[in-house]
């Protein structure tokens, strides 16, 4: 019987190692897998590359991971936000590498990785400093920038419902990067608010089919 549910955080985090690239779901705090982030901190893995839209806030979760000097590099569209004090201090001190990526390019680079596409051309960032040093090419009369796929070793995802095959639904704007990142990592680890019986999810409503998911941990959270 296929059962991707895991019973403990240790089981969820098994195999994460130093130097891994971690895709971290969420947009601000919505859809961010907080429990899995705490689990990642517990593993002690360091020298990580983290891909996330924001660079954390306060001193918890991603900010805590960075504060513990476990993140070598962050790939991010909007690192500066309310309370991103840890990131900003590390960045000013030159103690963390930042790769700033337009938000849509970041999403598409992971979609490409999940879809087996090596690279693509996009009009976003043409003529700006974020295209500096990148190959450009005119396609159908428009200048485009070459961007490479961005695969992860691990994706940490927050879902609303999950079944034992790893089929997932999300809650409203909590879907954000989660559904894209789930496709783009070698190991996709999910924290789900609700575990449901196989067959209980409407096949038309499954946003991430279980083929993209490796492990599911039940983490009941805020109801809404």
């Amino acid at each position: 019987m296929i059962d991707k549910r895991v019973r403990s955080m240790a089981e969820a985090m098994a195999g994460i190692k130093d130097g891994d690239t971690v895709l971290l779901g969420g947009f601000g705090s919505v859809g961010q897998p907080d429990a899995l982030l705490d689990g990642l901190i517990e593993t002690g893995a360091r020298d990580l590359v983290v891909v996330a839209n924001n660079a954390g806030s306060g001193h918890v979760g991603l900010a805590r991971l960075m504060e513990l000097r476990r993140v070598r590099r962050i790939i991010c569209s909007f690192p500066r936000s309310q309370g991103s004090v840890v990131f900003e201090a590390l960045y000013r001190a030159g103690e963390i590498e930042l790769e700033i990526v337009p938000q849509g390019t970041m999403a598409e680079r992971m979609r490409a990785a999940g879809a087996g596409v090596g690279a693509f051309y996009t009009p976003t960032a043409v003529g700006t400093q974020l295209a500096r040093g990148k190959e450009t090419r005119e396609i159908n009369g428009r200048m485009m920038v070459l961007e490479y796929a961005l695969p992860g070793d691990v994706a940490l995802v927050e879902a609303w419902q999950a079944d034992r095959w790893g089929n997932l639904t999300y809650n409203k704007s909590g879907r954000n990067f989660n559904a894209v990142m789930a496709t783009a990592a070698r190991t996709t680890i999910v924290q789900a608010h609700h575990i449901v019986e196989l067959g209980a999810l409407d096949p038309e409503a499954i946003a991430t089919p279980g083929i993209f998911v490796d492990r599911v941990l039940h983490v009941p959270g805020v109801e809404a």
Partner: protein, 211 residues
């Protein structure tokens, strides 16, 4: 002698026809949604995967799972949909949005826009979806003050701040005027009550054409 910020937002809103799909940036652009004339259906998109976004909820009806790109609580209108980030930006980059309204530091007379960083060595640059929106929407309108607080013109011959996108702004709404970006440069299509041509010229670095 000039439009207030709510009046600027309202001035933008009257120009948005029924049926358009529209993305509003953070700041004054966000206020545009509050000024769409009653009964006119305009569909608002938020880059974090919300299509058909509605107004802010009452304080006792906040849903923590439903935010906009500025991370404020919002609602979903009947007919709205949720998508993931790659699909949301496919809507943006794929030319499916009729309009994007952004704030800016500077707009150049050829339509170049700078709105994401104030220097080459910004302490922690944050681009978000600005470059995708500027390059991807069918048309880009900018709403901003005509000058900086110290009076430096923001409508310029050539941007000095790092660019967000090249030659993509179609129209600019300021506290003083509405200007189209044309082959001949900034063309004034409307002025706030009491604003004169001389005042506008004095507060604009780029040349102005008066239609």
């Amino acid at each position: 002698m000039s439009w207030t910020r709510p009046q600027m937002a309202a001035r933008v809103a009257v120009d948005i026809p029924e049926g358009w799909y529209v993305n509003l940036g953070i700041g004054i652009p966000t206020q545009v949604a509050d000024h769409v004339p009653e009964g006119r259906e305009v569909i608002f998109h938020s880059e974090n995967g919300v299509l058909g976004m509605g107004p802010a909820p009452a304080a006792d009806a906040i849903d923590p799972w439903l935010i906009n790109a500025g991370k404020q609580h919002v609602t979903l209108r009947a007919g709205g949909a949720y998508v993931h980030h790659a699909d949301s930006f496919a809507m943006i980059r794929g030319g499916h949005l009729d309009l994007c309204v952004l704030g800016a530091f500077e707009v150049a007379e050829n339509g170049d826009v700078a709105n994401w960083a104030t220097s080459e060595n910004d302490t922690a640059p944050a681009v978000g979806g600005a470059m995708d929106l500027a390059a991807g929407a069918k048309r880009l309108w900018v709403v901003m003050e005509h000058t900086t607080k110290d009076g430096t013109p923001k409508l310029v011959k050539c941007c000095t701040y790092p660019l967000t996108a090249l030659a993509c702004v179609k129209r600019v709404y300021t506290n003083l005027a509405v200007l189209d970006v044309t082959e001949n440069g900034f063309t004034v299509v409307d002025m706030a009550p009491g604003v004169t041509r001389e005042m506008l010229v004095a507060q604009t670095e780029a040349a102005l054409v008066f239609a």
